[in-house]
Subunit: 585 residues, 2 copies
């Protein structure tokens, strides 16, 4: 049983609440007024539900196959047609520049498309997802001629893209990589082995362009000696380039997404951007890519939630504790009467809707960073996007995974079977805590890089916006407890941040506390989103708004208190963590 | 890569610390002195590592097969031989009464055998596990003649057993069950459908005895009209009885453990115990069965931990923050230098060792309850076992699952592949939060039944033992912070318990807060175990004891603070949970 109806009403509410009006006025976004967006998302929702979702379990079961003779990877039945329809529906082109055939939609709109395709078919979503990453890289770092040559083919889905970063001995620490690029006329010849290459080979498109990190012969050692190359599977003259899939990983989930070992054997490539500056190019596109991984958490937790609710509506076990709620004509009551079933569902929903809201708010910052003509507004967008991205990536994937597990629990034994697919959502989601920078790397990025940058400017911006939301609702009696929860969360966050910003905090302390600190930050940011949503719901007619207010309160009283325990861990510092010798583990 | 060496030294330390000397003096346990036990466990550890573990991944990959014509289930290659060796090694007979061919070992000793077989091959472990349950049921509720007829065959492994409780429309709420038993001479004829029947059919033994819950024609409705029947697969005259496996579930994990749909078609059965008193028989054996499910959490988290440590010892990425810890002869440092890798491993280890300790302490209470000639000591054992069992079952499975996930995170992308098997441990373990009474049912059992029983007597016993440990270490400067952590945890637990024991607490409040309350209880109980272990380690020579003291401190400062957030949820009560109409989900 696979159930999903994209919450388009919530999409619209979130956009409106977070100031989409200002985004839509940015140069280039004029066509995307809220009604147009709403109708586009409604149409997309039907496509993903009817076309992408039915193939999700097929993909899991069938998996992908590698022919070791030809190095060709075959995707599951139906995936070629799905890719064709996805491209024809305009979903790949949506967020990309019109000058190269894109539709030029705001990032905040494209994010919902990514949420829906991830919820309905995460394995499949990774092919367009990686292609988006390649488009960003070429757009920001390629020459005009390279853009003309690559972007129209990638945006139209004729070609797809990959990112070839990791090698067997280096993942997190890319400074160790050894793939070599040797000049050969105006091109280069690349040799080396890359692992974890998503959609490194497949049969969905005619050509694949690999973005490969490698070292030039004169490269300095470490992270500052890495360059980026575009290495196509098929060269312009139609000959096969020396880049082959030589193995597939066998994984817990995303079975329909080929994870390839790629061998580069004197493969022809061209330099993208400046020599030795490859990591800079990588960081440019990481915000968008990491935001898209963050949404995997709430996308899969949402389809799991919808599945759990559908199951719960049918299932009768036991009796309501309150005799007035018992249905005496039946042998048992619906399980939604039980407090614990509600608790599980509300833990999921109250975090999920806030995570989506935070993801959208972050993507709106990217829109301002890229399109706002006002320098200060552009800088504020860039600052906030940089600050919030690691928070979204880490917290949403972690919490989203727990949420899918909580949804499974609602179904009892049925949830553990493949029949309801929640077990697949769990398996497919687990990798999101690892790839695109492990969650702890996100925490180090937040604490070690994003916070102190420019004299803690972006943190000051964030706290001033949160304070503004608190002050704007200071006399809003209807949500006084929700606002008060945010006030206390912010006080804790500011206290912990000050301690981390003191001079002489050593690196081991940062390593020991960064993950817990990030979670404190995330809970504060979610609380902020709930204040914004609750404030926008007060006094409005209709069940939708009444439910929003209840969810804001549930989050405040039942989830937000986690901050206190996390703060204790941050305050504990490094001493217990570093007390052990390596031999003691 | 499958890695496991049972921590036999920790087994021995836990036994000694928790007063195994008193258990061994109980009538019937005289032969099981600590040296004998240590040598038995050492030998068993080698068997499970060398024989059971290599078949674990084979079982996951191969799964089980049902022939729809013959209703016969085939287990994976090697499982028949493993069962034979398991039986010949004496592991099935170990904890059972000598009068029927068992070895009469203490429950506290048998628990380690269960931990080791679960860690090395959880799917397989379920066959002897269910058989143990059947042995308990017949031993406590069968007639002398029935015992003579069933127990020697079950204890010798000639026959195995199942529990047939759940039906398609009822799991948690067994009062709804409809399987019928009609008298037929001195036997009964049973008809109905049972689901989730573990090892309901297989090829490991000659016969299978199903323990089936059903209703007699004159049964009152609901939970008080259920009787228990023994229904063998093959009758005494060699004919096939009308009980068939008609389907297998397809599950997230435990692929080598057949989960059967069983059809009873006029099947011959005999009554075990009194008519309509079946649920009472079930509750008798639930303590042992639930304790054995609880240990699944720390058993699988332990093998995952050992795997993560083995990976970490080999893996080099990045540089130590402290320049003095850098290994300049290598291009990168071992990842054990990184605070966050340590944090993940220590979160696992500091909870795992305390969970094992709590499990063993609980099983020792069962030993006292069954064998202590002193009435008061016997009663205290029974009280504590009843109180702690739901805590162990719920908390250890939940935390154990999170721990396996944390171990996967240490490996990064490698952890998500099947190569290191952690993904299998996660999949195999997830069901433990559901079966044998969902974790929330455990919480309701604790708060609604175990706590208030006999005027809160068992809780008073528990707090007096915890207080005794605090007082005994009041001047123990070396572990002052660990003791202080327990003191504060106990204060919180007592405060919350008093609020729940006030008159007029409504059932919806109990439902809303029981799960968080159970976690507060569990963290307090784990803190108590750490005080006992730390107290036993102070002043002793050797790395083992130094590490124990560090783990106790880590737990106290980095894990125990979770109590504060959980307490806030308990104090919040039901209002946010019950505020929603069913239609709002």
């Amino acid at each position: 049983m696979q159930i999903y109806n994209a919450p388009v009403d919530d999409f619209r509410f979130v956009l409106e609440t977070l100031g989409y009006g200002d985004v839509q006025k940015l140069p280039g976004y004029e066509d995307y007024d809220i009604e147009t967006v709403h109708s586009l998302l409604t149409q997309a929702a039907a496509f993903f539900r009817d076309v992408a979702l039915p193939l999700n379990r097929v993909g899991d079961k069938h998996g992908v196959k590698l022919d070791p003779e030809t190095h060709a990877v075959t995707t599951p039945p139906g995936f070629r047609e799905l890719f064709k329809q996805y491209v024809e529906g305009g979903y790949l082109a949506l967020g990309h520049p019109t000058e190269f055939g894109g539709s030029g939609a705001p990032h905040a709109v494209a994010l919902f498309i990514n949420e829906m395709i991830t919820a309905t078919n995460k394995s499949f979503s990774m092919c367009p997802g990686l292609t988006q990453g390649l488009i960003e890289a070429v757009y920001h770092h390629g020459t005009e001629e390279q853009k003309q040559r690559y972007l129209p083919k990638l945006i139209s889905g004729e070609w797809t893209g990959t990112m070839c970063l990791t090698e067997p001995h280096c993942g997190t620490d890319l400074g160790l990589l050894t793939t070599k690029a040797v000049p050969d006329g105006d091109r280069y010849r690349l040799t080396g082995t890359k692992i974890w290459i998503t959609f490194g080979d497949h049969d969905l498109a005619d050509n694949i362009v690999h973005l490969v990190l490698a070292r030039l012969p004169d490269a300095p050692p470490g992270i500052k000696g890495i360059s980026v190359f575009a290495v196509p599977k098929v060269l312009e003259d139609g000959t096969r380039n020396g880049v082959y899939c030589v193995g597939l990983e066998h994984k817990m989930g995303i079975h329909a997404s080929p994870t390839c070992v790629m061998s580069l054997e004197d493969a022809v490539g061209e330099l993208i951007g400046e020599p030795h500056r490859g990591m800079k190019s990588m960081f440019t596109m990481m915000n968008v890519a990491r935001l898209n991984v963050g949404l995997e958490g709430y996308a899969l937790a949402d389809i799991a939630y919808q599945t759990a609710v559908a199951f719960a509506r049918d299932r009768r076990q036991g009796r309501a504790m309150d005799p007035n709620k018992r249905e005496h004509s039946a042998a048992a009551d619906n399980i939604l009467v039980h407090a614990d079933v509600r608790r599980m569902l509300l833990n999921v929903r109250s975090t999920n809707e806030a995570m989506r809201s935070l993801g959208v708010w972050t993507s709106m910052q990217i829109d301002h960073a890229l399109h706002n003509p006002d320098d200060a507004a552009q800088q504020q967008g860039a600052d906030l996007a940089a600050l919030l991205t690691p928070v979204v990536k880490s917290y949403c994937t972690q919490r989203g995974f727990l949420n899918t597990s909580e949804c499974m629990q609602v179904l009892g034994g049925a949830g553990f079977t493949v029949d309801w697919s929640i077990e697949q959502y769990m398996r497919d989601l687990r990798i999101a805590m690892i790839y695109e920078g492990t969650n702890h790397i996100q925490a180090l990025d937040l604490v070690g890089r994003k916070l102190p940058a420019d004299n803690w400017r972006s943190f000051a911006t964030f706290t001033s916006l949160v304070t503004k939301a608190i002050e704007a609702n200071a006399n809003n009696e209807a949500i006084a407890d929700v606002v008060d929860g945010l006030r206390r969360a912010l006080a804790t966050l500011v206290e912990l941040t000050k301690a981390l910003s003191a001079r002489g905090v050593d690196g081991e302390v940062i390593g020991a506390v960064a993950s817990a600190y990030l979670d404190v930050f995330a809970l504060t940011a979610l609380s902020h989103q709930w204040v914004l949503q609750a404030s926008a719901s007060v006094g409005r007619e209709g069940q939708f708004f009444a439910t929003k207010l209840k969810l804001a309160r549930y989050f405040t009283h039942q989830v937000l208190p986690q901050i206190d325990s996390l703060a204790a861990v941050v305050r504990a510092g490094k001493s217990q963590v570093m007390a052990f010798d390596a031999a003691e583990f």
